[in-house]
Structures are given as C-alpha cells and as structure tokens.
C-alpha cells in the first residue's frame, strides 16, 4: 500500500491523540471523600475490568478513526488485487526485466516452453511502456547471458534484442541477476523503479543467496525498488537422465525424478544411431539407477541414453564415451601341490584377483608346469613360489622378460627367491632383515599416472615383522622401502622387460601389508607398470564447458587434431607439446576427435553432458521468492498496478463510517 499524498501522513501521530487524552484523564483523579468504601470497592472490582476493556476499545476505535481520517486525505493506493486502472498515469517508471535463460526454462507447459512464454511477457511489458517509462532487459542464467544495456525508452531497440535472446545450457543464479538489475537501477533517479524477474523461480537458483537474504545480500540493493515476478501455476514433474558410468561391462545410468513421488519412463541406449538396449524404469522421487549390460567388448564405446520425452527435453538424454581397453593377462605361479593355508602364499593376491579389484586377467599355474606353459599373450608373471621354479623354468622366465614381459618375484617364507631365479632378480636376497614400521614410496616417477595418491593411505601403519634384506644390483631401482630404510620392493630392467622382487611374502606373519588398504593399490600399481598397461583412460565424459584435454606420446603426436561437435561444427586444433585443449564444449552431445600422426590415424570421441549438480531438472518453483508473483495473463496491467497502486479512498471512507458506528455503539453503553 502507498499514498498519493504521503506528506499528509505526517499528521498520523494525531491518531494517538485519543490515547493521550485518555491516559491524561485516566491518571488525573479528583479526590473525593466517601463514607465507607466496602460496597464501593466491591462494585468497582466487579465492574471496572469490563468497563476498562470497553474504554480501551473505545480509545482504539477513536485512534483508528483518526488514523483512517488521515489515510483518507492522504489517498491510499493498493498494489494488489481488486483490479482497475493504476492511480497515477503521469509518473514515469524505470524497469529492468530479468529474463531467465537457464535450461530449465526450456520446460514445455501448455504447449510452449517457459522461456518463450517469459519472452512473450517481457515483450508485453516492453510494448506497454509509456513515453516517460524506461526499461532494460538482462538475460541471465548462472551468468549474465546478455544485456540490452542501460535503461532506454526505445521499445524499437529493446524488442528486437529480446527477440534474439535464447536459452542457454546453464544453471540459475538469482543473486547475480538481481545484482545486475540493482546496479542498472542505481544509476536511475526515477521515483518508481522495478525489477521484473521472468523466471521459473527455480529452487536451485538460490545457492549463492537465500530468498530471505535479498535485501541485505545483494549489492546495490535499493528498498524502494519493487520486485515483481512471473507466477507459474503448473509445476510439472521431470525425469533427468544424468551422465552414465561404465562399471565393468555394465552401463550405470542415474535418473533423477523431480516433482513427483513416482513415475515410469522408457530408457533406451542408442549406439551408432541405433537403439541397442531398452528398459522400462519405475522411478521414485530422487536418484534412481538404471543398469544396462553391454557385454564384453574393447575399444570405443559411445552413445547416449534416452528417456521418454517429458516437460524438459534438455535432460532427457545423456551421452557417454568410453574406451574399453583389453585387460592385460597375468600369470601367477604358485605351487599347486602345496596345501596353502589361509592367509599364506598368494591367498591375498588370489582373493584380490577374484574380486576383480585389478584391471587384469589373472590365471594361476604351478611352477612345475612352467616349461610347458603358453606365455603368449601374458604380459606379466608373478612368482609366488620361487623355490619351486627350477632351472628350466627360470630360463623360460628370463627369456620371457628379455622379450618384453614383466616378472614379479615374491619370496617364499622359507627359501627366499630360490637358487634358480637369483640371477634374474634385480636384487640379491642377503638374509633376513630387521623388523620395522612404515612404508616409503621411493619411485614416484616410475609410478606416475595412478588413479590415487600414496598419501591417501596410512603408510606409516604398515609394519614388517620379518623381511629379507634386498641388495639392489646395478641399475636397479628401489620403489618402496620399509620404515627403517630397507628396500621393500626393487625393480630392474632385464632385456626389454622389467623384473621386480619383494622383500617379504604376502603373509601376515611377515608383514601386515596384505591386510592394509594400500595393498591393492600397491599391487595394482606394480602390475600396471609390469604389464605396461596404460593407466586409467583420459576423461572422456565432461560437464558442459569443461576443458577437454588430449595428449600423445611426443613421437606419435600429430600436427593437428580435428574435433567435430554435436552441431557438426568442425574445430581444427594445433597439437602443441603433444597435447590439445578444447574449451568449446558448450553443447551437450558427442564430440568426435580425428588426428593423423606418425602412428597413424586416430579416431576417438568424448561426451559432454549437462551438469546434474545444477539441479535444473527440478521444475518446482521456490514458494517464498522475494518478488511479488503476477499471473501471465495480465502481467503488464498488474505490474503497473503493483507499481502505481489503485486508489481505494472509498474503502477508507467505508471504514470510517464503520468505525463511527462502532464508536457510537460503545459510547451508548452505560
């Protein structure tokens, strides 16, 4: 509510006059003498409380009468409801229209997207501007997408700008938008200013600002600026397909259901333009996981997962691109004749292989069978029973290593590495070593490219009760040491291959290493190094506008790479220092990368998806937004009424009459 003549409100304190008079007379008692007070006090105690209530009621009514009288002459204006033309047709207003261009505005309701409807409303507001009014339009998401500039009264310039505005793939940040609007209005001297927020009032738009904090939190905030927004009566549900993960041979697709307790949808995996898998998913509110068995395959794995179209089409599909490499094969040699008790020998290793902890294919064989074993395709051999390897077997292994294979000799608890393998090893086993606590990583360079950092593990908690003392041979490297500095794992080249030897068997009676979380990491790192398998594949699934990086070995690097986006636009990138960086990932979809280098033609792909953390799939509006919500149908008209109000002097008059009646009724009471 406001007033046409607010200066008259200075007379409002006069409304307190009845109260002051009442209090003055109430506290000024004329002393009188009476014969006896018993009856009088009794009657007073029975009567006065009610009488006092009536008196206060009367005072309140009189105060209200005076206040309403002042309000009547000040000409009150209402800014809500009631309909009718605005009260003030002459004063100009400055208005900044904030047009939400986040991708949730792409939600289609009543046959049109919210963005189109918001644009239509903005156009209506601009069209209704009077010559004395000025406006500016700012399109925003979680950044300022575009602005028409300073306040301008030229509709002919603003309307085409508005027409060109398009939705983005970004999230929502109201703080940024409001700051921009207040900043524009701070340069205006107009008496009437307004910010019109044409948005879906997204709940997720307040990450940097709580709705209740608006006044205090936004720079340039002006309390005189009126905030109006677009009300959306519909709040559709929406299922958002999020970026998939590849877990083994399974494609795991998170699907988040927003705004409904439950719903079902059809999920389709499309690869190479053809649907390859389909399932019906019964979704519950929140994150649901859909699993697709893709089967064993290697090489590039690209495609998209589609859901049945719903209100928001932008998040109905997510794209994926994986490179499935062949798993290196490893042969573990362990004396099969020995009945190995639990926790002895290769127990832990076997359990680790069985639980698919490592990206390796492992098979076990008896060292006695080594001469007859087929080592084709085997990348590395782990010898868990070295004493069982005879001379022929050792010769076979030496040839295997020299030919490029990897060998890891884990000493036997009784006999160490055995006599046959001694010459092959990169270190001599020189008797027992002392006990020690802790594990140190020495070969940081040799173990680069791992998906973890050694500091993540409590290496100081690894203890060696017993160990063999390793004396590295010339050219060998110590990769791990015990806490007291003795080598725990030594590696050395032999021919084209690599040989490693540990200082202790994988037995708790020697060391607690197999029981520690670092054990799978250490074995994984060692085997990856032995097999010369590539580390984890480079990231091929990115969020929107995340920089894509691709690298080649210097000798295999091409001169340039060509990336083709989902819009079929081609980008040629020079390869500098064996790598490219591509930042134009501003569209969700699959991007193809082609390059021709000395190693031949390389074709790969990467996927770019919307960031699910933005929660733009949630189409439910924030119920407590800091702006007055106005319906779409008569937005411009209601906006003017909100700003200028509608005179309601006749209501004040009616109120005056009512209060007069009430006053006379109260006065008539005995």
């Amino acid at each position: 509510m406001s007033f046409l003549h607010p200066a008259l409100l200075w007379a409002l304190p006069l409304a307190a006059a009845p109260l002051v008079i009442h209090l003055l007379f109430r506290w000024r008692h004329r002393p009188v003498v009476f014969s006896d007070l018993v009856l009088l006090a009794e009657a007073a105690a029975r009567t006065m409380p009610r009488r006092r209530l009536e008196e206060w009621l009367l005072v309140a009514v009189r105060c209200a009468l005076a206040a309403l009288l002042v309000a009547f002459f000040a000409r009150p204006l209402l800014h809500w409801g009631l309909g009718g033309p605005p009260a003030d047709e002459k004063t100009g207003m400055d208005v900044v229209i904030l047009l939400d261009a986040s991708y949730s505005m792409g939600a289609v309701t009543q046959g049109r997207s919210r963005f189109e409807r918001a644009k239509q409303v903005a156009a209506t507001v601009l069209a209704s501007l009077r010559p004395q009014d000025r406006a500016a339009v700012v399109a925003f998401s979680d950044r300022i997408e575009g602005s028409s500039g300073e306040l301008d009264s030229g509709k002919e310039r603003l309307l085409p700008w508005l027409e060109r505005a398009s939705p983005s793939w970004h999230g929502t940040d109201y703080r940024l938008a409001l700051e921009s609007a207040f900043s524009i209005l701070s340069r205006s001297a107009s008496g009437r200013k307004a910010v019109v927020v044409l948005s879906d009032n997204a709940r997720h738009g307040w990450r940097s600002l709580k709705p209740a904090d608006t006044a205090a939190a936004v720079p340039f905030f002006d309390p005189k600026v009126r905030l109006a927004g677009l009300a959306w009566p519909d709040a559709p549900g929406n299922a958002a397909v999020e970026p998939a993960r590849l877990e083994g041979e399974t494609l795991a697709v998170p699907v988040t259901l927003w705004g409904r307790p439950s719903a079902d949808t059809d999920l389709t995996v499309v690869r190479g333009g053809r649907p390859t898998a389909k399932t019906r998913a019964a979704l519950k509110r929140g994150v649901n996981m859909a699993l697709f068995q893709l089967g064993a395959s290697t090489g590039a794995l690209t495609g998209r997962v589609e859901a049945r179209p719903d209100a928001l089409a932008a998040d109905d599909a997510s794209h994926f691109a994986f490179t499935v490499r062949e798993r290196p094969r490893v042969l573990a040699l362990e004396a099969a004749s020995r009945e190995l008790p639990t926790f002895q020998g290769g127990y832990f290793l076997k359990r680790a292989f069985q639980s698919a902890l490592f990206p390796l294919e492992a098979s076990f064989a008896d060292p006695a069978d080594l001469p007859r074993a087929r080592l084709e395709g085997i990348k590395a051999v782990i010898v868990l029973s070295p004493e069982a390897v005879d001379g022929a077997g050792a010769a076979r292994l030496e040839a295997f290593v020299r030919d490029g294979g990897g060998l890891w000799v884990v000493p036997d608890g009784r006999a160490g590495a055995g006599p046959a393998l001694g010459p092959v090893l990169p270190a001599r086993i020189a008797g027992p070593s002392g006990a020690g606590t802790g594990l140190r990583v020495e070969a940081a360079g040799a173990l680069l490219g791992l998906p973890f950092r050694w500091a993540e593990f409590d290496l100081e908690k690894v203890s060696f009760d017993r160990a063999f003392r390793l004396e590295p041979k010339e050219g060998a490297e110590t990769w791990f040491r015990t806490g007291r500095g003795d080598p725990a794992l030594v590696a050395g080249r032999l021919g084209r291959g690599l040989v490693m030897v540990s200082a202790a068997p994988f037995q708790p009676s020697w060391s607690n290493l197999p029981l520690k979380p670092v054990f799978p990491a250490l074995v994984s790192a060692a085997l990856l190094r032995l097999t010369r398998a590539a580390g984890p594949a480079e990231r091929q699934n990115l969020r929107l506008e995340e920089v894509f990086t691709h690298a080649w070995q210097p000798e295999a690097a091409p001169l340039q790479a060509v990336i083709t986006g989902p819009d079929r636009m081609t980008h040629r990138l020079p390869v500098l220092d064996g790598r490219i960086q591509f930042a134009r990932t501003d569209l969700p979809g699959l991007y193809d990368l082609r390059a021709e280098g000395p190693a031949g033609r390389e074709e790969t792909a990467f996927a770019v998806n919307l960031d699910p953390a933005l929660q733009e799939g949630d189409l439910q509006g924030e119920p407590d937004v800091p702006w007055t919500l106005i319906g779409e149908a008569r937005f411009a008209e209601d906006l003017y009424r909100l700003l200028f109000g509608r005179e309601v002097r006749h209501y004040a008059l009616a109120g005056l009459l009512l209060l007069l009646v009430a006053e006379s009724l109260l006065m008539r009471k005995p």
């Binding site: 014969s35 007070l37 009088l40 009657a43 006065m48 008196e55």
Partner: protein
Amino acid sequence: MRYLDSLALAQIKNLRLPPLRRLAAEGTLGGRHRSAYKGFSQEFAEHREYVPGDELKFIDWKVYARKDRYYVRQFIDEKSLKSYFLLDVSGSMAYREGGTMTKYEYACRWTLAMAYLILKQKDQVGLATFDAKPRDFLSPEDRMQHLRLMDDVLARTEPAGVADMPAAMQAFSEHLHRRSLLLVFTDLLGDPVAMRRSLRAFRAMKHEVLVLQVLDPAERELPWDGQVRVEGLEGGAPVDLDAAALREPYRRRFEAEMRLNEAAFREAEIHYRVLWTDRPWFDSLSHFLTRLSQSY
C-alpha cells in the same frame, strides 16, 4: 441544647409516641406499659402464700381470717419502659454530601426528639454511643433533665474511627439485664452481614429493636463525574474509579443490600427504617411516628 433547641421542641410538642403495646416492659418502676410480671400496683391479680421477706402491708388479713394462713395480694403492675438509644459514631456517620446535615447530626436530632417523647411518657431513656467499641453510656432515667445530659454527650462526640457494630453490641449487651427497647441509629455500612447478625442477637434476647439506618443521598447516588479517587472516612485504601461508569452498578448493589437488610430485619421482627438526610428530620420523624402508630 444543641440538638433539641426551642424550635425543635416546638415542632415535636404535638407529636405523640404511640403506645408500644407489643413490648411488655419488665421495669421495676411504674409506667404506662403493662409488665409481664405480677407486682404491686392498683389492679389485683391473685393471692399467693406469704414467704418471709414479703412486705407485711400486702398481707391480706381477710383471707388470713378465713384460711388461717398468710396470703399476700398480688397486682398487675404497670412498669416504666427502658429505652436505649444506640448511636453509631464511627467516621462514616460524619459524612455529608447530599443531605442538609451530617448523618450524625441527623441521628442526634432524632435521638433527642425521640427521647423527649419517651420521657414525656414517663419512660426511661438511656444512651450509648459506639464505633468499634462502646464510647459513652448513660443509664436510663425518666427525668427530663436527662435530655440535657444526653445532649451534652452527643454534642461533645465527634464521629470518627472504624465501626465494629458486632463488637460494640456485644459489649453493650452486658448492660442490658431486662427486656428493653433499643433504638439503633447507624448507617449499616461496613460488613452488613455481621451487623445484621449482631442486631438479630438482641432480638433473640427478647429486646425490642428499632433499626434506623441514617443515609446520605450521595451514598446511593454517587454524585461525582469522571475519574475520582475515593477516600473513605473510615480509612482503607483509596479506590480509583470512573464515577459515571460505576454509578449504575453501585446503585444496583446498594439497593440490593437495602433489600437484604429489609428482608433480614423483617424475618427477625426488627423494625427497620431508612432515614435520608436530605429530608427534614422533623418530617421524617412525624412520618415515622404516624407509621408506627399504625403498625402498633
């Protein structure tokens, strides 16, 4: 005399106290009232056997001659009525707002006028004043000079203090050995229930009780306006009130209390009358006597 000057005497000269037939006085002196006891007077009642101590002059020698026993003659004795004027002299009796005089002065005039009329009938009048306890006491006398004594006592008395009628009546009752006529002048303000109970106690002792409630019209009307702080003549915390707002509820309460008085005294066979001080005391007295003569 202060309360019975020559003008007052001239006014009441022609008034006559009706015979209080209902009251059979038990006084020892002769008077206009028939005694409840047989005594020695003119009108013969019966004989009884002589007992030592009887006066010899009442021995009926004729009966002795016939019966050879001593008999004495007994007569219906006419005895004087003992009337006590009990005057409330508590602070509230000094109140005067709407009346022509204070309630105390009004009661005094009534007292002396009534006393005069009673003395004129050869009856005895006594006086007792009280507030929280008895203050002055004059034994009943049948001499006109007694009026001056009463006037002196009343003239030097200033109404003050808190009334405690039950306590005062209790103390006064110790002076009463015979059935008497008690004329109580009070405003009955304070604890009306206790007051009524104490007066009913006299009635239970077979005394004839006449309660004359002396009131100022202001005590019924609350003649003030606006916010007032009321201080009581008998003390107590002042009461702040809106007089206009309280007038009607107070009046209802006041009248209810008077109706209660009336009912309680009627039930106890106590004659009860309200004397408003805005009415000339002589008018109210003559009216009272007229009504009394009709009722006795």
